[in-house]
Every structure is written in C-alpha cells, then in structure tokens.
C-alpha cells in the first residue's frame, strides 16, 4: 500500500496538533462557536492523520511502522522516542476517531465553551502520547498530562456529585502513577549500575538483570498504576463515580480512551519490561480479571442509573481484555487488542446515546425511563444495536475480540475460558435488562419529543460503520497486529 512518507515526523505532528488547537480555542475565548469549529477541525485532522498512519502501516516493513527518536534531557539520559507498531496502531486510530465523536457530542455544551474544548484537545495529546511513547519518562509525562484535563472536565462540567468524583479520580490515578515513577527511577538506577548507561529507553531497560524479588516489586509498582487505570477489581471504585458525574465527552473519553491507556500500558510496559515477574503473575492476573468480570457484571445488573450500568459493563469488558493478556497467547492477545478497539466504539456509542436520551428525558433512571421505541424508533434502533454489540452478539464489534480471547484462554487454561464464558452470559443479562427498561414497557413519567437530529446521525452512522466492520471483517484490523504480538510473545514467558 502506498501512503505517508515514513521519514516525515507524522507522529510529532499528531502530538502537536491538538495542543495547537487548544491554544487556538483559548485564543477564541469570546466565540463559543469558533472554539467548537476549531476543535472539530483539529480532531478531524488528527483522525485523518491517524487513518493515514493505519493505511500506511506495513506489517512486512519491520518492527516499527513509524519511529522517531531524538535526545531530550541528556543529563538524565531521557530521550524523545515515539513509535507506532501493531500494539498501538489500533489505539491511535481509536483515539483519532473517538475524539471527533467527543467533540460532536459536546456541541451543546453551554458553559465556558472554549475552555472545555481546549481541555478536550490537551487530553487528546496526552492520550496519543501515552500510546506512542517508548521512553519511560516521556511516557510518564504524557500519562500525567491526561490527568488534569480529565479532572477539570469532571469537576467543572460534571453532574451534581462531581467534586467528590473528580477528586477520587485524580487521587487514585495519581497515587498509582507516583508508584510507577518510583519503579521507573529504581529500574533506571539498577540498569545504570549494571551497564553504566543512563537510559530510560524501553528496550534497553528490558535487558536489565533483576533478581526475583526486585523484579516482582518493580512489576507490582508498574502493574498497580496500570490496573488502577484499567481498572481491575478491587482498584476500580473510582470509575463508576467518575463516569456517572462526568459530562458525556468525559465519559466517552474515559471509557473509550483512558481505560485503554491502562490496559495498553500493562502490555507495552508492565508485561514487556519484566517478563519473568510477569510470567509468575499471570495466574493472579487472570484471577483478578475473572473476579472483575463477575463482580462488575453483578454490580451492573442492579444499577438503576444507566450511565453507571454502562460504566460497570466497561469494568467487565476490561476484565476480559486483561484475561486475554493473562492467557499470554497470540490469539488471545490479538483478541484483547481488538476488543479494546471494539469496546471503545461500542461503549463510546452507548455513552453518546445515553446523553441523547438524557437530553430528551432529563433522566437516566431505569425506573423512570421506558417505552422509548414508540416515541423515537430511530434512536432506539441505534441503542439496541450498540447494546447488542456490547453483549457480544456475533457480527457486531465486540464479538470478534471476545471470541478470540475466549479461544486463547481455552488454549492456555480451559477453566479460565469456561468461567469467562459464563461472565459473558452475565453481560447479556444486564444489557437486556437495560434494553427492556429503556426501549420497551410503559413510558413512565418521561416525555419524549423528537427523534435523531442531523448532528446525532453524524455521530452514530460512522460509529455504526465501524461497529459492523469490526464485527464482520476484523481481519483488516488483525493483520497489522500479528508481528508485534509475535514479538511480544517471542521473548517473554
């Protein structure tokens, strides 16, 4: 395939574009419409570039599809190293796509519009940077850059319990990331004492000789930071609150992107840096993932707030993703990466739909909602489609990923596969309960006024295309992953 010139610093452009857009948004402080348009143009440009990168990615060309490296803080041996390979390719595509959705879904935001979009764009840079960074300090920097914008999005534009939710999100994540910082510095010092080379480069640090205990401690420091973000039970308690209180774009980004940064980092950094410790922890990881799957499914089943219900369903899906990691099998890993993409689209779409619903009815409570199909059949159809994708209906996005994970889990530990299968059945239970409560039944006290608008179509139709493509022909997305997954498995446990 032809495509982008790999010698051109496309990745840097990708990282700088949203920051530039954010500055422009702030410059347009007195024109809310201007800020909206700037944000849309910027995110769209990022999406186009990410699409271009996806098309240009050639699995035969070597490990990195795109790669940039430059000295940054030489005094500490920190480099500006970013690269695109099979592990982050889908994540970049997802980020580019979902951010456009997030901007479109936030069009009706009234309060402090330029600031809102500026934050959304800064966060995009943070997320893209986390996915691309290959130097540990650079990675940490982007990891923190994601934090403050999300905090402010929840804090300023959230719903009535936003203050506590924002603080909880902030402190949970920060606690994890500072733990990771200790791990990064310790690993760096050990590596330098061994080799005399001061570096934070991922591949170099991987060659550090660690004894069993040290390796376990360091792995734990990284893993806790990532698993808080994923989040995996019992580190998940910040998520339902953050989701419930966040504005819609915040929920879309949280579920679609921020959770993925945790899972992705677990794969790229946690499991890759400490292969020996990781090998010993896979069982524990699988158990945690399965507990999370069941706990979240159970919790989702009793929620009355549909946003909270979907938030718990995210925990369950991410549990499945982590189970795919724990299986440490080529098929399962591809499934995990695919499910991460699919979950981003599906859950992002569901949160968008909840926002549309709330805009019409003023509520998210299951007992109040009901009978939507009669008043707004088109909206309901989309709701049904995305919910079915979320429960893993074959032919829709989530199925392919879930199937591959289950297959891989069976190959590693049949009992994991069996248990996970049951968990997936649970997903059907809570999703169908939600559908029954929202789409059918008596219309309750809620009054509906109109069906989908043009802007809402513009959000939902591309997502639907994505949803079907992922479900019907996932091969497009699987092929570029294979070399990276093989490389990951090759040297590791």
């Amino acid at each position: 395939m032809t495509g982008l010139d790999p010698t051109f610093p496309w990745l840097t452009i990708l990282l700088l574009l949203p920051v530039a857009g954010a500055l422009l948004c702030m410059a347009a402080a007195h024109s809310p419409d201007g800020a909206r348009r700037i944000a849309l143009v910027t995110t769209f440009a990022v999406f186009v570039i990410s699409l271009g990168l996806f098309v240009a990615a050639n699995p035969a060309a070597g490990r990195w599809f795109f790669f940039e490296d430059a000295p940054w803080i030489t005094r500490f041996g920190i480099r500006y190293t970013i690269g695109l390979d099979g592990l982050n390719l889908l994540m970049i595509l997802l980020t580019g796509f979902l951010q456009v959705v997030a901007v479109l879904i936030s069009w009706p935001v009234k309060r402090h519009v330029p600031f809102f979009f500026a934050l959304l764009l800064v966060m995009e840079t943070g997320v893209l940077g986390v996915f691309l960074a290959l130097d540990l300090v650079l990675f940490y920097l982007f990891w923190e850059v994601m934090l403050v914008p999300m905090f402010l999005l929840i804090f300023v534009w959230g719903h009535h319990n936003r203050v506590a939710a924002a603080l909880k999100f902030f402190l949970f994540t920060l606690a994890g990331s500072l733990l990771m910082l200790v791990g990064i510095i310790a690993l760096h010092v050990i590596h330098r004492d061994q080799t005399g080379v001061a570096t934070f480069a991922l591949d170099a640090l991987r060659t550090t000789q660690l004894d069993g205990a040290t390796s376990m401690w360091l792995f734990a420091a990284f893993a806790v930071a990532f698993l808080i973000k994923v989040p995996i039970v019992p580190l998940h308690t910040w998520l339902p609150d953050a989701h419930t209180e966040a504005p819609t774009a915040g929920s879309v980004d949280l579920a679609g992107l921020l959770l993925k940064t945790g899972a992705y980092a677990m794969l790229r950094f946690g499991l890759y840096l400490f292969p020996a410790a990781a090998a010993r922890s896979l069982n524990l990881l699988a158990i945690l993932a399965l507990i999370g799957l069941f706990h979240a499914a159970w919790a989702a089943y009793v929620q009355t707030d549909i946003k909270r219900l979907i938030a718990y369903s995210s925990v369950a899906h991410l549990g499945l993703v982590v189970l795919g990691f724990a299986a440490w099998d080529a098929v399962a890993l591809q499934g995990s990466l695919l499910l991460m993409l699919a979950h981003g689209i599906t859950t992002g779409g569901l949160f968008a739909l909840v926002a549309m619903l709330e805009a019409r009815t003023g509520t998210r409570q299951l007992e109040v909602l009901g009978g939507l199909w009669r008043c707004a059949p088109k909206l309901s159809a989309f709701f049904l489609l995305f919910a079915l994708s979320s429960l893993g209906l074959p032919g829709l996005a989530n199925f392919s990923g879930e199937f591959l994970i289950l297959l891989g889990a069976f190959r590693t530990q049949p009992i994991w596969g069996v248990l996970a299968m049951c968990g997936v059945v649970f997903a059907a239970a809570y999703m169908l309960r939600m559908l029954r409560g929202v789409l059918w039944g008596p219309s309750g006290q809620a009054v509906y006024c109109h069906d989908l608008t043009g802007r809402e179509y513009a959000i939902l139709l591309p997502m639907t295309v994505f949803l079907l493509w992922l479900g019907l022909y996932p091969q497009t997305f699987l092929v570029p992953l294979q070399p990276a997954v093989a490389l990951l498995l090759g040297g590791a446990p």
Binding site: T74, F76, H112, V137, V148, I185
Partner: protein
C-alpha cells in the same frame, strides 16, 4: 581590601551602592515609582554583571568565592529582588509605602542573599545571613496600616534572634575545634579525630539548628505561617524564595566541604527532612488561607531540597541548585498572581474570596493553577523535572526511604494545591472581579510562565550548565 578584590564583589557593590543611594534620594525626592524603577534597574544590572563579568580573583578576602555558581545565585537573587520590586509597583502605591526605604531595603536583602550564597567561610556566611535577616525584620512589618504586619515582624524577630545566637555560638565552637573559619578547612579540621571533635560536633549541631530556623524545618517552623500571613505579599515572596533559597545555596559549599563527614550529618538531616515533609504536608491540608497554605508548602519544598542535599553526590547538589531555580520561579509566579489579585482594600488571602474567579479571569486562574501544579511537581512543568532530579539523586545514593517519603508528600501535596484550583474553577454565579493587571506584574508573570514551561519541557541547557559546577 585591594581593588581587585572589590571587583570580585562588583554585583554586590552595585546592589549595596544603589541601596544606599536610594535611601538618601528617597528622603528628598519621594517619588515612589521612580525610586522603585531605579531599584529594578540596579538589580537587573547586578544580575547582568554577575553573569557576564568574571572577576580576576577566585576569592575575596578569604570570605567569598567568585566562581560561576555563586555568581549564578547572585544573579538569581538579584532577579528575585527585581521581580519583588516590579510586583510592588502597584501594590506599594496603594499602601503608601515609602519608595526610597522600601527599594533600598529590598536591594540590601538581595545583597545579603548574594553574600550568603557566595560565602567560602563561616564568617562570611554569618555576615550574609545577618545582613538580609535584619532587613527582613523591617520589611515584614513595613505595612504600618496592617496590624498583623507588626505581629509578624515580631514573630520573625524572636526566632531569628535565637537562630543568630545559635549560629554565632556554633561557629565559635567550630573555630575552637578547627582554628579556622575558612571552608573547607574548618570542616575537615574540626571533624578530624581528636579531643576537640565533640566540641566541633556540638558546633555543627547548633549551626544546623540555625539553618533549620531560617528555612523553617520541623521543629523550628512555628513562626512560618504567621509571618507569611502578616507580611506584605511582595515580602512574603522574598521570604519564600530568596530568604530560604540563599540559605540552601550557602549550605551547598558547606556540605561539600564536609566531604566524607557529610554522612555523619545525614542521619540527623534525614530526620529533619522527613519530619518537615510529613508535618508540613499535613499542616497544609486543612488551610483556608492561601498564604498560610503556601507557607506550609514552602516548608515541604525545603524538605525536598534537603533530600537532594542529603544524597551527598555531585548529582544531588546539582539537582538542589536546579530545583532552587525552579522553585523560585514558580513561587514568584504564584505570589505574583496573588499580588495582582489584591487591591487597596486588601489581599485575597482567604481561599473563599477566589471562588469561581476563573470564569471572569480565566488567564490568571489558569496560570496560578499552572504554578501550583509546578510546585506539586506534575509534568510538563519544571517542578516535575526538578523533583525528578532530587529523588533520582536520593535513590541513587541509597536514600530510597526518604525519596519515598518525598514522593508520598508530593502525592498529598497535590490534594491541597488542587484544592486552590478547585476553588478557582468552582461554578459560581458571582465570581469576584479582580483589579486589572498592570504591565509590571504582567512582565514578571509572563517570564515566570515561560520559565516554568521551558524548564519543564526543555531543561537540558540549565542542567548541563549546573552539573559541571559540582
């Protein structure tokens, strides 16, 4: 003192000369703005001379070194003084400050700080420290209309006097043991094995106590919040930055002189640093007064700096110097914004007076948030790189426990810094109206923003400049 030696102190002479001239001129020509502008010019000139001019002699009168590092600190404190004067232009007019006395005292304080940072002898250290402490007694109580000012001045005076006593007594004991006050001989000779070694150790202990008072380490910290609260904001800026930073800058050669004996001090310092970080953090958490909050937070920063000092390596010392710059820039920025928010009616000390301020003054609120995040050490601000260097050096030297305490303190510190941000960005229908920023304040704040971001994103040049100096 020969002419060549005088040339070695040229930046300090500029400061002191201008200080004296302004004091005299102010008596006959009470033009507040002009007097302050002259003071700003003199401070900038001193900073330029300090950096650009290499003196012919390496040392002046066996008291003060003239190598690059002391001169860089001299420039830093001169720039701090210039920033304080710039920030006082509007603030001082509305409070009817006497321009001549005020600018004269600020310049004199900068001269004292410069001397302290350059001292190569314990006597020089004493002189420098006293020079600016005396000035600060006056400056803290400078606002005669503010009753808390006098209280704060007194609260600084009493512990300050005790610290002076401790310092003088400690230095004399070290002299008894070593027979010299010049560094590094005083350190090595006094701590060499011998009958006088216990005397010297007592001397060093007293000296540490005096230093602890000045940079408000726990348990010598009790004066800090009251004095910060009562002093006029520009002077609080000076207290938080130069007054503490100069002591640490002066401590750098002191500790380097200790050589291997540094390890002996480190257990005590370990305790002081850990207690300061923990207690400072816990005390800052419930504060509703932003000046008191920053007072406790400045204590915590002293704990971080001490962590780098304890590491006892050239890398640790270099990271202390780097963090001093970063901390000074971010503090001046944060206090500068608070100054720009206060008007003739008073300072906005109470957090609640800033509720929702971001919605009417988004730029100032965002920038204050940026400075606070730099103090909290979040990337991509300079505070992150600074703390990274400190904790890296500490872990490197085997002080992992202390580094962990520091990182824990950083985590909790985010909670109180972010609280200020939360107040400013709170939804509010009645957000306060702030006075318009004047150009002088804008310049200082803009430079600090540039500093915080530049040193956070591209710290290489400054790090490379500082590293070979240790």
């Amino acid at each position: 003192m020969s002419l060549l030696e005088l040339l070695g102190l040229l930046p300090v002479l500029i400061l002191v000369g201008a200080s004296t001239a302004l004091l005299m001129a102010g008596a006959w020509w009470p033009n507040f703005r002009r007097l302050l502008q002259i003071g700003i010019g003199a401070a900038l000139l001193a900073a330029v001379v300090a950096v650009a001019y290499t003196p012919p002699l390496p040392e002046v009168g066996n008291l003060y070194a003239t190598s690059l590092l002391p001169r860089l600190f001299t420039a830093l404190w001169s720039l701090t003084a210039a920033a304080v004067l710039l920030l006082s232009l509007r603030y001082g007019v509305s409070r009817r400050f006497d321009g001549g006395v005020y600018s004269s005292l600020v310049l004199f304080a900068a001269a004292g700080m410069a001397l302290l940072s350059s001292s190569s002898s314990l006597f020089g250290l004493f002189l420098g420290l006293e020079a600016y402490t005396l000035v600060l007694y006056i400056l803290i109580a400078f606002d005669r209309t503010c009753p808390q000012g006098a209280e704060a001045g007194l609260k600084y005076l009493v512990p300050g006097a005790i610290a002076t006593g401790l310092l003088a007594f400690g230095i004399s004991l070290i002299y008894v043991a070593a027979g010299t006050l010049h560094l590094p001989e005083a350190a090595t000779a006094s701590l060499a094995a011998g009958t006088l070694r216990p005397v010297a150790l007592l001397g060093w202990l007293l000296l540490m106590g005096a230093v602890g008072f000045k940079i408000s380490l726990v348990p010598f910290h009790l004066w800090t919040p009251d004095v910060y609260q009562g002093a006029p904001l520009p002077i609080t800026t000076l207290l938080a930055t130069g007054s503490k930073g100069a002591v640490l800058a002066g401590a750098l050669p002191l500790f380097a002189a200790l050589g291997p004996a540094r390890m002996e001090q480190s257990e005590l310092l370990w305790l002081l640093a850990a207690a300061t970080m923990l207690i400072g953090t816990l005390c800052a958490l419930p504060q509703q007064n932003i000046k008191r909050l920053l007072a406790y937070s400045s204590m915590v920063h002293m704990g971080y700096l001490l962590t780098g000092l304890i590491a006892g390596s050239p890398a640790g010392d270099a990271s202390v110097a780097f963090y001093l710059v970063v901390y000074t820039v971010a503090s001046i920025g944060a206090f500068g914004l608070l100054i720009s928010m206060s008007d003739a009616a008073g300072e906005r000390q109470d957090l609640s007076t800033l509720t929702g301020v971001a919605w009417r003054h988004p730029v100032r609120a965002t920038l204050l948030g940026l400075f606070l995040l730099s103090l909290a050490g979040l990337p991509p601000t300079a505070g992150f790189i600074g703390k990274f260097g400190l904790f890296l050096a500490a872990i490197d030297a085997g002080y992992t426990g202390l580094a962990l305490i520091g990182i824990l303190a950083s985590l909790v510190s985010v909670a109180y810094y972010i609280r200020v941000v939360m107040v400013m960005f709170a939804r509010s229908d009645d957000s306060p109206t702030l006075p318009a920023t004047v150009a002088s304040e804008g310049i200082v704040i803009a430079l600090c923003v540039a500093g915080v971001l530049l040193l956070g994103i591209y710290p290489g040049p400054l790090l490379d400049l500082l590293q070979p100096l240790f």
